[in-house]
């Protein structure tokens, strides 16, 4: 890390994107990727893909952890803590305030209209995030097959996502991808 203002820039950016991460943090992953890899070069594509894979495969609040790993890469432990707070602080404040409003306007028509308008856009963004991550991860045809299989099995069955992650990890570890 050469630029001393890097931790501040990262924390501010994460606080901003977490405040607009409608539909969860996956929707802003392409933006974070662009910020830390393409624009600032704090880590490589490979680093980012590794961090994503680790965050997805360990229990816990995985997107908050993922941003903590990004913070760690830029500024060590303080960076990890700052990134965690930037990731959950603003949204939790918004959740708390809006829960109170929500209860009051539970049956208001605008609530349904807003949900109908917002959900499709959000889901388009989630699917786009998966595609962006697939582009980084799928370096071979068997890897594309794993991504496709994981998506199809999740849609068609109620199998735990854990099995897909284990299968992907096992095939990768055996050098089949």
């Amino acid at each position: 890390m050469s630029d001393p203002s890097a931790p501040l820039a990262l924390t501010a950016h994460l606080a901003l994107v977490s405040s607009i991460s409608f539909g969860g943090f996956p929707t802003v992953l392409p933006d974070v990727h662009n910020f830390v890899v393409t624009r600032h070069g704090w880590m490589t594509d490979q680093d980012f893909a590794n961090i994503f894979a680790i965050a997805q495969s360990i229990p816990g609040p995985n997107m908050i952890l993922m941003m903590s790993f990004v913070g760690w890469k830029v500024w060590g432990f303080p960076g990890a803590v700052a990134s965690a707070f930037a990731t959950f602080g603003p949204p939790c404040t918004i959740y708390f305030a809006s829960y109170r409003l929500w209860d009051r306007f539970r049956d208001a028509p605008w609530q349904q209209i807003a949900r109908f308008g917002l959900v499709p856009v959000v889901m388009g963004l989630v699917i786009a995030s998966g595609t962006v991550m697939a582009r980084a991860a799928d370096t071979s045809w068997p890897a594309v097959a794993v991504t496709t299989a994981a998506a199809v099995i999740t849609l068609a069955t109620r199998l735990s996502p854990m099995w897909m992650l284990l299968l992907g990890g096992a095939l990768g570890g055996l050098g089949r991808l």
Partner: protein, 192 residues
């Protein structure tokens, strides 16, 4: 308001420790994308009976159209519902503190050895599967809206503008959402 009448007994104050441990369990069980909702429902609705199914569905909908990590949002809302501000702090602490420390330690050990070919291959395989899970989750949550052509159009637009046109998220969000909400409003007005 019918929920109040259905309730069997007056609400007793839920211990803060119970909120803490419940969301600690949700956090540690919810591996991978989307697993958290399953465990939050299982614990808050089925095991502890803090919320009815309908109340839980309300909370999830609210969290879905607010920014941020949705499961943390469920912790905020359930904590607020049971015990107000202090309940939120207990639930969010349970959800975050211990799992964060464990996850960070385990993850950093992994990252330390990320240069090893075997570990790199394993992580590559996991990333490939995880990307598929994310795509499937988006599709699955879109399914209830599949009968509305406008919904599909906006989903495809959002997807395309990010994936192919590579526009920034903010531009896509603030460009499409007002249009999408306006059309949903017109549809609703016509349906009446």
């Amino acid at each position: 308001m019918t929920d109040v009448a259905e309730r069997r007994e007056p609400e007793q104050a839920v211990p803060l420790a119970a909120l803490f441990t419940a969301f600690l369990a949700v956090s540690l069980c919810g591996v991978g994308g989307g697993g958290g909702v399953v465990w939050a429902r299982r614990i808050a609705v089925e095991k502890r009976r803090w919320l009815t199914e309908r109340e839980f569905a309300d909370v999830v909908s609210l969290c879905q159209f607010m920014p941020g990590p949705n499961i943390a949002g469920i912790a905020v809302c359930v904590g607020a519902k049971m015990r107000g501000t202090i309940g939120t702090i207990a639930a969010v602490s349970g959800f975050l503190v211990i799992p964060w420390v464990i996850g960070l330690s385990v993850g950093l050990v992994f990252l330390e050895y990320a240069h090893l070919t075997v570990l790199r291959n394993i992580l590559g395989g996991i990333a490939a599967a995880a990307a598929g899970l994310l795509i499937a989750t988006g599709i699955r949550l879109l399914l209830p809206h599949r009968r509305r052509p406008a919904a599909l159009l906006f989903a495809v637009l959002a997807f395309g503008l990010i994936t192919f046109a590579k526009l920034p998220l903010l531009a896509v969000l603030f460009g499409l959402v007002p249009l999408s909400i306006a059309i949903a409003g017109i549809e609703k007005a016509r349906a009446r």
